[in-house]
């Protein structure tokens, strides 16, 4: 194929794209009168596209719209129901994660926090008139922290430890599965294919 023909065949695509100028159209027409190969190329290209456009398509069933609306409404109900499950699971998950974080934090940080708070309260109570109130508060808070730490250590590291962590893993997995199905149900993939 001559390079001139290649050039004109590029312009033919621009003609089909409706982007060719009048001058380009006229040039293609002139070229086709002297080049039967390009004339055939353009005719066959145009005709194959006409065939594509004239391809028959099935007529939608008369109740297509009604069925579609009904299906969409029921799919929405399913999604809403699933959304409730997901939010419940996520809620439970959050509570369990908070417990585990608190427990972990208490187990590790409790002595440090206890010492820090005790020191702070000491400093405050020395300079204040209401020493007795702060002393009591200090005692109560120290007791609470100590109790929390003890419970946390028992739950996380003690006899109940394996059961607790097992439950946490199961809840995490089921929460993930519910969330995933909820997102799949409600979402439209917009990634490039």
């Amino acid at each position: 194929m001559m390079s001139t023909c290649r050039k004109y065949q590029q312009i033919m695509h621009r003609v089909l794209d409706r982007e060719a100028s009048d001058g380009e159209r006229a040039a293609v027409d002139r070229h086709m009168t002297v080049c039967p190969t390009c004339a055939d190329f353009f005719r066959s290209l145009e005709f194959s596209l006409d065939l594509l456009a004239a391809m028959p398509t099935p007529t939608p069933a008369p109740d297509f719209t009604a069925r579609t609306v009904e299906r969409a409404l029921s799919a929405e109900k399913v999604r809403d129901r699933r959304g409730k499950y997901v939010s419940w699971c996520l809620g439970i998950l959050m509570v369990l994660m908070s417990i585990s974080l608190t427990a972990g934090w208490s187990a590790v940080m409790q002595p440090v926090a206890w010492l820090g708070l005790r020191g702070l309260l000491n400093v405050l109570s020395k300079g204040m008139v209401l020493c007795s109130v702060f002393d009591k508060l200090q005692t109560i808070l120290a007791g609470l922290l100590s109790l929390m730490g003890d419970i946390a250590i028992k739950v996380v590291l003690g006899e109940g430890g394996p059961v607790f962590w097992g439950c946490l893993v199961v809840v995490l997995l089921s929460g993930f599965m519910f969330a995933r199905s909820g997102i799949r149900m409600s979402g439209v993939s917009i990634k490039r294919r």
Binding site: H13, L16, D17, R18, R43, S44, L45, E46, F47, S48, L49, D50, L51, L52, A53, A54, M55, P56, T57, P58, T59, P60, A61, F64, T65, A66, R67, T68, V69, R71, A72, L73, A75, E76, R79, M185, S186, G187, V188, S189, I190, K191, R192, R193
Partner: protein, 197 residues
Amino acid sequence: MATQNPEFEFDSAGLIRRAQSGDADAFSEIVNFFRARIISYCWKMVGANAEDVAQEIFVKFYLSLDRFDPSKPIGPFLFRIAHNQCVDVLKKKRIRTIPLLHSVKDDEKLELQIRDDRPDPEASVQNAELRQAIQGALAKVPVRYRSPLIMWHVEGLSYVEISQTLDLPLGTVKARIHRGRKLMQQKLAGFVSMNGG
């Protein structure tokens, strides 16, 4: 050539707002307006079961209405869902060729979409053999070329709309359509020469 985009005469923003507020009638109007184009697109993309695929597309569209901006046209968004759904269906079924006219029981159910009066393509597609050849040829065009080709030449989407729909740069869309045209021409070469193209 691409047909005129009829969406200009369609109050999509109003309908979307009504549908977003739970008005099933508004959604039903949207379905009525787009169903023929979506079914036609699915038919050309996946062949049989086009109506089921189209229904799934409208359901997905309905479920994602709350995230849709009413000021934007519906067409590109709907065709994006349609494209993704068809790609999923093709992947699941691993369709290499389109089952020919399986879902159409008789010719009365067929509706021709005639666009211009050049070498009488509508008369040619009456020929069942040629019709099968077109569908077979289309099925052999890879999806990445087939989808923009159908969107431009059959469904009348503009290049910009196709670019938004497929999330591709404008140049890539044009290149894919050009490639798709050439492939269609090659696949149909024998029939085109027999039918006077």
